[in-house]
């Protein structure tokens, strides 16, 4: 039987990709001028948080 548990890291990474993907789509539509120097640190911060929370979750379970 497969065991499954909620993954905080997947949730954070998912939300992050939705936001970044939407930013690129808005940029392509000409609605918003995308600044790469915003996306890059946001990506690193989000993935860092996702990794830390994921690791913390695993050690608790």
């Amino acid at each position: 039987m497969r065991s499954s548990h909620f993954s905080v890291s997947s949730l954070i990474a998912g939300l992050l990709f939705i936001v970044i993907g939407a930013m690129f789509l808005l940029d392509a539509a000409g609605v918003w001028d995308l600044e790469l120097w915003i996306v890059a640190p946001v990506l690193l911060i989000g993935l860092g948080i996702a990794l830390i929370t994921g690791s913390f979750n695993r050690s608790v379970t």
Binding site: H5, F6, L11, A13, L15, G21, F24, L34
Partner: protein, 215 residues
């Protein structure tokens, strides 16, 4: 028929069925969508930018991760999302539109009417011979991009030139100046460019390879 007593324990059968994999389903959907869009672009039915396709794919991956988070960690999808974000950031920085064909291509327009505003190749050599062109007064802007390979541009002597170029990795030779390295981004102009009556501006982008401009 085998009889079992009340204390007999049923042998545990290994479950040979594979569980649902969100990573495989989403990856399959993305490959399917990319294949369909590529086909539609190749047959000129739809001309959707790859930039939009990749951005939409990133949103789909994000949604799949959020939905799939209740079933556990989806490290495969996270890796794909990171790669896709890197590709999009690169495309945005270099203003790439992920278009063009594969192979060596030569364009030698005979008149200004035959000159296109943009030339693209995914992989190979893109050779643009503008030596026969009598450029009009004012500014003429031409863009060219190659993902992997080389851009060669030959321009006539009687036009003032400015070359705005980006190279992620490779080397550049513009108006006799040579540079090599990674993440190169610069602009070179011929003397008296701003005051010239005929001005040609080349926007050249290469992800990996060479840019060569000769006058």
């Amino acid at each position: 028929m085998t009889g079992r007593g009340p204390g007999t324990v049923e042998p545990v059968q290994p479950d040979s069925r594979r569980g649902f994999s969100a990573t495989e389903v989403v990856l399959g959907m993305i490959l399917l969508a990319v294949g369909i869009i590529w086909f539609l672009r190749s047959t000129d039915i739809v001309n959707m930018s790859w930039y939009v396709v990749f951005a939409a794919a990133l949103v789909v991956i994000g949604l799949a991760l959020v939905i799939g988070s209740v079933a556990g960690e989806q490290s495969g999808l996270i890796s794909i999302g990171v790669i896709l974000t890197a590709v999009l950031m690169l495309g945005s920085w270099m203003d790439l539109n992920f278009g063009g064909g594969v192979g060596d291509r030569t364009f030698a327009p005979a008149s200004i009417e035959q000159v296109e505003t943009s030339y693209e190749t995914i992989a190979g050599t893109l050779r643009l011979d503008l030596s026969a062109i009598d450029f009009p007064e004012g500014e003429t802007v031409i863009e060219a991009q190659v993902m992997a390979g080389r851009i060669q541009v030959i321009i006539p002597d009687d036009v003032a030139l400015r070359v705005d170029w980006n190279v992620l990795a490779g080397d550049v030779e513009v108006l006799g100046q040579q540079r090599a390295g990674v993440v190169l981004d610069d602009s070179d102009a011929s003397p008296g460019f701003d005051d010239a009556s005929q001005r040609l501006i080349l926007n050249l982008r290469v992800l990996a390879g060479q840019i060569e401009v000769y006058q």
